[in-house]
């Protein structure tokens, strides 16, 4: 359990560095370190499926973020209404904490009752789906609806990125629409 706490401390430090770093590239690399910590935490908690997925998605996200932010300093808009922003942030944080205080009291305690539905999955999984990887049998057989929704989300995200980033409809310097190339 100790290594998990050490890892959590490492991830918190990484997140603070990501917030406080002056340039974008250091910030992105600190975010990548936090993601690697998450992946190792999944591995310690004996979830290799999630660890593989987290690691690969983290690599992909790091590449995309570095390609998108390298040699481009995105200025933070700190001027202007900082008082209003701070007041609104503190207000919403207070509302969230107040609601969470009452809501979390009604939740069942952490880890109990342990595995109510999962017991059935573990007992019946191999017999009723034939898949030896139980995670696969859950996400593609018992809970396939969730996977369908997730696939739809990713499809919509890809369509959205392509629709926003394509060249059709963009205006060039002299405000002419270049329609001949995509």
């Amino acid at each position: 359990m100790l290594e998990l706490y050490l890892l959590l401390g490492f991830m918190i430090v990484g997140a603070i560095i990501a917030l406080e770093a002056k340039d974008m590239v250091s910030s992105v690399i600190a975010v990548g370190a936090v993601g690697l910590g998450t992946s190792i935490a999944f591995l310690i908690l004996k979830a290799p499926d999630l660890a593989i997925t987290q690691l690969t998605v983290e690599i992909l996200m790091l590449i995309i973020l570095i390609r998108a932010t390298l040699r481009r300093d995105l200025p933070f808009s700190t001027s202007g209404r900082w008082l209003l922003n701070t007041v609104i942030t503190v207000l919403f944080l207070g509302v969230f904490l107040a609601v969470a205080y009452f809501a979390i009291k009604d939740l069942p305690r952490f880890g109990s009752p342990i595995m109510r539905v999962a017991k059935i999955y573990i007992a019946e999984g191999l017999k009723s789906t034939g898949a030896t990887n139980l995670v696969s049998s859950v996400i593609l057989d018992f809970r396939a609806y969730d996977t369908l929704g997730e696939a739809t989300v990713l499809f919509t995200a890809a369509i959205g990125v392509i629709a926003v980033m394509r060249r059709i409809g963009r205006k060039t310097e002299d405000e002419k629409v270049k329609a001949d190339d995509e």
Binding site: D49, R67, A131, D141, R166
Partner: protein
């Protein structure tokens, strides 16, 4: 990075290493996908690894080489095909009763061809995720180049 068409991409060392490793990365992604019902992994992780192999190619050789392997139209077609195959498998469950019914014979556990529809679903999701993430990456790279043209 955009030094003209002749020296697009990175140095000779990176190109040589990429030429050796990119096939292995793609193969590992396919292994993760096809063994998703037997060992840890599955459609999503394998699809991301497949997309990463093409992104590796893009980073090392420039976008023309990667687009020759998998064009933009091909990406769109594969993305849509994956989604449609997944939905078709779900709807074909109605032949036996309900949505997402595992209608193929389960087979013997620990065999590659077992678990009914789960390997097929894994392959469909891998197509979807791989093509979709590659399309997102290419979209963001094109944005960067366009911004550079403006300056």
């Amino acid at each position: 990075m955009s030094k003209g068409p002749k020296e697009a991409g990175m140095t000779l060392i990176v190109k040589t290493i990429t030429r050796l490793t990119v096939g292995l990365i793609l193969l590992y992604g396919i292994y993760i996908v096809t063994h998703g019902h037997l060992t840890p992994g599955g459609g999503f992780a394998g699809g991301v690894i497949i997309a990463l192999s093409f992104i590796h190619l893009t980073l090392a050789f420039g976008k023309e080489v990667a687009l020759k392997k998998l064009s933009k139209e091909g990406t769109s077609i594969l993305d849509s095909l994956g989604a449609l195959i997944f939905l078709a498998i779900a709807i074909l469950g109605f032949t036996g009763g309900y949505f997402f019914l595992n209608f193929i014979n389960k087979g013997v556990p620990f065999r590659l061809l077992s678990a009914g529809i789960i390997p097929l679903c894994n392959i469909a999701i891998a197509l979807k995720v791989g093509a979709g993430l590659f399309a997102i990456f290419m979209g963001l790279v094109f944005l960067k180049i366009l911004d550079k043209d403006k300056k």
